[in-house]
Amino acid sequence: MSNERILDVKGLKTQFRIDKQKVAKAVDGIDFHINKGETLAIVGESGSGKSITALSIMQLIPSPPGKIVEGSIELDGVDLLGLSEKQMTATRGNDVAMIFQEPMTSLNPVFTIGTQVSEPLRKHKKLGKKEAKKQTIELLKLVGFPRAEDIFHEYPHQLSGGMRQRAMIAMALSCAPKLIIADEPTTALDVTIQAQILDLMLDMKKKTGSSILMITHDLGVVAETADRVAVMYAGQIVETSTVKELFVKPKHPYTVGLLNSMPKIDQDSERLESIPGMVPPAHNFPQGCRFAPRCKHAMDKCTEAVPDLIEDGLNHKVRCVLYDGSGKGVTHV
């Protein structure tokens, strides 16, 4: 892992117009970066803006009503927001590839696995049919298909969910992209199959040295796959640190609450902590800190202004007034 940044996102804001008055601020000013060979996980509950972040990078936001209104997204030094649609098409699948949650709906049912996995090779690398097939079969073997030659000619419905996700990973890897975005890649899978796919992704990362942006709601998946993590809440990053730091020393009351409300298989707890209330809608965020209405540490100061993302400890940032120098902090876990 080097310190060379493969992805650098600055001040990204993506909004959706609901009607004349209402605008949903799905992603509201986020900054993060991914170093070469690194896996960054963005974790959050539904409505936190994590998937919209991924779609913004791919520029797959349905427009209208959606629009990236501010910010920059640099992939290996190139600002993706400055690219034309044609240039972006040449980038997708080539420099940055995406693995979606639902392998059932993201593969086209009327084309064979071979056709779909080899498509990026033919489009971007301009390979001939024969060469593309040869490389595709290699890829299918790489992601663990024992009978790759047969699978090449089969259709998505003939494969199980786990197998389809393997095919998606093969497709994402086909052009050796600089960055792979995985949006809840294992959420639709059974736990034993999830373990296989996570194992495969870690293995592929070791072999290809690719950088991964992992979008997930599952803190267990974060702990098992990522190097660094950013916690999103209501369109903002509220805490970011290395994975180890986050699980050992979580700082933001939301992160602490999230960790404590999770039943854990290797710990007994008599009663789970829960966070009262729910995530605010993106068109009507509360004034000040967006977590304040649900926060047990909330004070007057919290509702005055959105707190800054403050550096607190090495590579650990947190968006909470408890850490703004008064040195108090949360006692936790």
Binding site: T192, L258, R271, S274
Partner: protein, 337 residues
């Protein structure tokens, strides 16, 4: 929540329960085979406990729940409730039992009628059961809404006005309206976010204490099942692979499938990273399960006997039962009941 169950009164006894779905094929749509969704499952449910059932998709756990409640008719076997076999009762005869047994479904978006107000939704089961006068029913609705943490003003609203967690509370209030003794939760929290999931789990625990409920909690999430259950059963392809008190099952799993399942759960313990060897292969099709032990195709410890002979549930002490040839004599099979 583990609490001491002093005297173990049996509420349900499930004996050799089977539920087969026909597979139609050919021009004449003749039955060409069966999906054995639940295949010879036996266990007991004690009064006041929470029995968790875990399994992957296609394991038959939801069918099991629905068959016990007689929402599906069993193919074979007995469902003994309070010493009476209800597996063969006609639907009309079942009605008095229905008020004792309720269900909370997975998808609170699909399981509540969008055209009924919350008040009507909660009142409906009481009207069907015809146990209370109208003013009493209205009072009960307000009571129940309060119990599940929603105010009386929720009565006049419709399901779409609520979030997923709130809808699940409404579903729970509805299930409680007939004062049941037994509730089956079929993945009741799996559609919810973590922070809301814990709210609903805590609510279910509180209500269990308050109303002396017995739960059958069906889920795929092993951590959630561990948290809420007293005993846990593990299903694989329509069969019970292992059933044991929670601590015994999670600390000393005996069946290779249970061991693999527990090992596959992503851990948040970043300080003690375990080396994992994920289970190979996919879940076989339930319409064409492997012979012998259904798990032998993926089992790292399978031997010849597993391919031909189906293992029976064997008592391993302290209510720990496992269906695996690793724990039985080569021959003859000695069953300890």
């Amino acid at each position: 929540m583990s609490k001491e169950i002093v005297e173990k009164d049996i509420l349900f006894e499930i004996k050799n329960l089977k539920k087969y779905f026909p597979v139609k094929g050919g021009v004449l749509q003749r039955t060409v085979g069966h999906v054995k969704a639940v295949d010879d499952v036996s266990f007991t449910i004690y009064k006041g406990e929470t029995l968790g059932i875990v399994g992957e998709s296609g394991s038959g756990k939801s069918t099991l729940g629905r068959t016990i409640l007689r929402l599906l008719d069993p193919t074979d076997g007995e469902i003994i409730y309070n010493n009476e076999d209800i597996s063969g009762l006609r639907q009309g005869k079942l009605r008095p039992y229905r008020k004792d047994m309720q269900m909370v479904f997975q998808d609170p978006y699909a399981s509540l009628n969008p055209r009924m107000s919350v008040g009507e939704l909660i009142e409906e089961p009481m009207i069907v059961q015809n146990t209370l006068s109208k003013p009493d029913r209205k009072k009960m609705v307000v009571d129940l809404l309060e119990k599940v943490g929603l105010g009386p003003e929720a009565r006049g609203k419709y399901p779409h006005e609520f979030s997923g967690g709130q809808r699940q509370r409404i579903g729970i209030a509805r299930s409680l309206s007939t004062r049941p003794k037994f509730i089956i939760g079929d993945e009741p929290v799996s559609a919810l976010d973590v922070s809301v999931q814990s709210q609903v789990l805590n609510l279910m625990e509180d209500l269990q204490d308050e109303f002396d409920l017995t739960y059958l909690f069906i889920a795929h999430d092993l951590s959630v099942v561990k948290h809420i259950s007293d005993r846990v059963g593990v299903m694989y392809l329509g069969r019970l692979a292992e059933i044991a008190p929670k601590d015994s099952l999670y600390d000393k799993p005996l069946h290779p499938y249970t061991q693999a399942l527990i090992a596959a759960v992503p851990s948040t313990d970043v300080l003690n990273v375990r080396e994992k060897t994920p289970l190979k292969g996919d879940l076989p099709s339930p319409s064409n399960p492997p012979t012998g032990c259904a798990f032998h195709t993926r089992c790292p410890k399978a031997h010849d006997r597993c391919k031909v002979e189906r293992p029976e549930l064997t008592h391993m002490g302290e209510e720990h039962y496992v269906a695996c040839h690793l724990y039985t004599e080569p021959e003859p099979v000695v069953k300890v009941e």
